[in-house]
Symmetry: C2
Subunit: 347 residues, 2 copies
DNA sequence: TCCCAAATCTGAAACGTTACAGGTAGGCTA
DNA sequence: TAGCCTACCTGTAACGTTTCAGATTTGGGA
């Protein structure tokens, strides 16, 4: 052994831990009388390290509370241990963000991953935060929402080989991990349930601008039900989920005061439903009597206020969990086609 | 010059940018015919670098889209450029998390800082995520909520010299950055407004367990108003903001069906108010007639559903902005005593 | 002309980690 | 006994940055 063993602890023997500094591989190496490389390998159970050594090293590591330095690992390997949630700040549908965050965290908390949240405003290019993350390599995986049928972000990330999962589907022939709520089923069931109540002039408050994929799903489900029920669809193209609540209420009041007013409404956002209710009641009508309302919701609010409203639940927290699991597995190299899931409206 | 200038670009002359790899200081140094050190310094406007050189370096950096490698900086300096938001997942009061996140992001987006969110569950030790962050040095600053009068986290972080800001005040004689909503004023004004309506048997639905500081503020404001108005305070110690909505509703129904029922209620959480309303109406009473309700809210929901409810607004998004500004300035060494702010209930 | 200080610029080292390319010891085969 | 293989361990280099301790150049004063 031609090592400069001067101030290294004797091999195969432990030693008191030194100063109060944060322990590094070197600390452990010194204490165990081993080389840094060996320690590194021992901690990750590499096959070329002896059982006894591994045990010893792992014991010391645990005892002195060693935690790998993120910056060191990241600099060397490029691995960030970060999952980035990229959200549109405006399209905050009642509790979406929180539930998404908590769902994702539930999964990540059992892993070495951290969650960073990157909101962007609707006026900005949705690509911008994505490009930033990729260019600076600031995350190992991305979760994003507001997926569009032909989504530039999906294309970009796929081309760059960056793992991601989307909340919502695309229609561009690229396999990628996603989790989606079955909005077609929701719209269908919703309209159906209105038909069952004898309603036959039915309006739908659709998802945000037709740019977003699930808008199409909603329309598909809705028209199918309308056709089957031979009912009349009343189109209200000028308001959607992104419209301000004030405007939704005012417009609803207008429509509900008009001659050809709907007697049933399907609404696909909990917060919009609140404005709808306000508009309906401002027009002097009563829910459950003059008009029925079916809404999607992600929190409990609606049920409490107007029990007459029919509600199908979308569990965003569950979506968060699914999305987190999907990116993580994608990072581990699992095939994208195995990481696609759908959840169904619960009554 | 005894440098090995073999493959370095001629000094004082620019050169085409090389490969498609992510540019580093070395890339710029090569292109500018300078040393890496000089480039590093030039980019941060160090005084020992000539004007001309600085301009040249900064131009190149901009042209090739240079962005410092986070891991490199972090490894060398310990600076993470991360602000960590530590939240209790259970105490999610309607939109608190989202608004907080968006408020903070608004400020951080103009800086090199990123936001990471670390939720913990109420069963767990609140110190745990804090300790983790400090021990692993994973953030430059921390924002946390649910501040207690004697808060172990505040003590710990102060001792360790880690910058932080709290949403809520402490009462432990330690100066630290905070932002708080004036809950005493809220409770006082709320109770006052009920008195003004002629109500005189008033209950308050207080904040989460008395452990949290603002609970005291609420009680102080409330009792002051009650005394001044010579009214009767009705205590409901068994439900608070952390109680499940179901339980709040049931208990409210019980109370409101009882003989000595309040004719005015102060509620300090928007979501709890919803449950209160349900309970009140389940007891066959009408808000605005049999009983008046004042509530704090952080979103628009209440106003839409029961316009009779008197509402004081707490702007959580604004709190987020204030807190972000506070930590950032604290990181820059500003004195804690200058980073304390209060916001007042808006009608 | 010479020397000195100021103005600029420089390479080497270090942060903590992992990948690479060996090295050593011991046992087994021939 | 020599040679070789296996099992285990090793130091060095590199990731990109900043800090340290100079080095070089320039211009001015004597």
């Amino acid at each position: 052994m031609k090592t400069k063993d001067v101030n290294r602890a004797p091999k195969n023997e432990m030693v008191e831990l030194p100063e109060g500094e944060r322990p590094t591989l070197k600390t452990i190496a010194f204490m165990a009388g081993l080389g840094v490389t060996t320690v590194s390998r021992a901690l990750k159970d590499a096959p070329e390290i002896g059982r006894a050594t591994k045990n010893r090293v792992q014991l010391i590591a645990k005892q002195i509370g060693y935690r790998p330095n993120r910056a060191g690992v990241r600099l060397r390997t490029g691995k960030t241990n970060v999952i980035s949630l990229v959200l549109n700040a405006q399209s905050e549908i009642m509790g979406l963000t929180s539930n998404m965050v908590y769902g994702i965290s539930e999964i990540l908390s059992q892993t070495p991953y951290h969650l960073t949240v990157t909101p962007y405003s609707v006026e900005n290019d949705p690509m911008q935060p994505i490009r930033y993350i990729v260019e600076t390599g600031s995350a190992d995986g991305i979760i994003m929402s507001r997926t569009e049928p032909d989504d530039a972000r999906v294309r970009y990330l796929t081309e760059h080989g960056v793992p991601f999962a989307t909340h919502g589907r695309t229609e561009m022939g690229i396999e990628h991990p996603f989790h989606d709520f079955d909005n077609e089923a929701f719209a269908f069931k919703s309209a159906k349930s209105l038909l069952l109540k004898g309603r036959n002039k039915i309006a739908m408050m659709a998802g945000p601008t037709s740019a977003v994929t699930y808008h199409r799903h909603l329309e598909r489900g809705f028209s199918r039900a309308i056709e089957e029920g031979k009912a009349q669809a009343i189109l209200v193209p000028d308001i959607d989920v992104d419209t301000s609540l004030e405007r939704i209420r005012d417009r609803t009041e207008e429509i509900m005061s008009g001659s050809n007013r709907p007697d049933g409404i399907v609404c696909c956002s909990g917060s919009a439903a609140i404005a709808l209710v306000a508009g309906i009641e401002a027009a002097g009508l009563k829910i459950g009597r003059d008009v029925d309302l079916v809404s999607k919701q992600s929190t409990d609010v609606l049920r409490w206020f107007r029990p007459e409203i029919i509600v199908f639940n979308e569990d965003i927290r569950h979506a968060g969990r699914e999305l987190a699991r999907a990116v993580l597995r994608r990072i581990d190299g699992v095939d994208a086609s195995e990481l696609q899931s759908l959840s169904y409206p619960e009554e």
